[in-house]
C-alpha cells in the first residue's frame, strides 16, 4: 500500500469533484491507479485516449508508482 496524490484536469476534475486527492492504493502502475479512480469517479474516456504524468513527466501507463508520487490524469486533449 502506497500513498500518492492524484490530480485531475478538465472533465476528470468535474467528475471527481476535486482537482486533487490523496489516494492510499495497492496499484503498482499508473494504469492500475487510473482504472481504480476512473471506476470510483465514473470517468468515461478510454484509458488509451488519456495521458498520465508522474512527478511532472509524461509517462506510459505501465510506469511503476512509488510512495508520495504525484500522478496527473489528463483526459483526451482538445487544443486549437
Amino acid at each position: 500500500m502506497i500513498d500518492v496524490t492524484a490530480r485531475y484536469f478538465a472533465v476528470f476534475r468535474e467528475r471527481a469533484g476535486c482537482g486533487s486527492e490523496q489516494v492510499a492504493t495497492d496499484a503498482a502502475t499508473a494504469g492500475e491507479l487510473f482504472s481504480e479512480v476512473a471506476a470510483r469517479h465514473g470517468f468515461l474516456d478510454a484509458q488509451a485516449r488519456c495521458k498520465v504524468a508522474v512527478n511532472g513527466e509524461l509517462v506510459g501507463w505501465d510506469a511503476k508508482l512509488r510512495d508520495a508520487d504525484e500522478i496527473l490524469f489528463f483526459p483526451p486533449v482538445a487544443g486549437g
Binding site: F9, A10, V11, E14, L44, D45, A46, R49, K51, A53, G56, L58, L72, F74, P75, P76, V77, A78, G79, G80
Partner: protein, 147 residues
C-alpha cells in the same frame, strides 16, 4: 523557438516579428479562431484549460521535431487559456524558412501535433445554455472534422 501557454490576448504581429531573419524568404502563420458553431451547436464562448508545465514541455518537443524534420529557420507557438469569445485567437503558430514548402509543412505539422498531444482542454458554451468538454470522443471529432 518558443512554445507558450498564455492567458492574455494573442498578438500575432508582435509574435511574427520574432521570426524575422535575413536568410528567411518565407513565413507561414496559422491562427485558430473561436467559431460560432461546432458540430451543429451554436457556440457563444469557450474556455481553455491546460496543465502549463507539461504543455510547454510537450510543445517545445513538437517545435524541436519540426526544426529537425523541415528546413526551417525558426518556429513559435502560443496557445491561449481562459475564457474566449467568438472570433478570438485561441492558438497561433508561426514559421519562417528559406523556402515556402518547408514553412507550410512545418506550420501544419506543429498545429496538428499540438492539437493531438499537448494537454489542453476545451469547454464549449452553447446558446442552449448547455456546456461541454470537447474531445476526440465527441461527435465533432469522431466524424472526422477538425478545425
Amino acid at each position: 523557438m518558443q512554445f507558450e501557454i498564455s492567458n492574455e490576448t494573442i498578438d500575432p504581429a508582435r509574435l511574427k516579428a520574432a521570426l524575422l531573419a535575413e536568410r528567411a524568404g518565407a513565413c507561414v502563420c496559422f491562427e485558430g479562431w473561436v467559431r460560432n458553431h461546432n458540430d451543429g451547436e451554436a457556440v457563444t464562448a469557450l474556455e481553455y484549460e491546460s496543465h502549463a508545465p507539461t504543455a510547454v514541455k510537450e510543445g517545445q518537443a513538437i517545435l524541436a521535431e519540426a526544426l529537425q524534420r523541415f528546413e526551417i529557420v525558426t518556429a513559435d507557438c502560443v496557445h491561449r487559456v481562459g475564457k474566449l469569445d467568438i472570433g478570438d485567437c485561441a492558438v497561433w503558430v508561426g514559421v519562417s524558412a528559406e523556402h515556402r514548402g518547408a514553412a507550410f509543412e512545418a506550420c501544419r505539422y506543429i498545429i496538428d501535433e499540438t492539437k493531438q498531444r499537448v494537454p489542453i482542454w476545451k469547454k464549449e458554451h452553447y446558446t442552449s445554455g448547455v456546456s461541454g468538454w470537447v474531445n476526440c470522443a465527441t461527435p465533432a471529432v469522431a466524424s472526422g472534422q477538425s478545425r
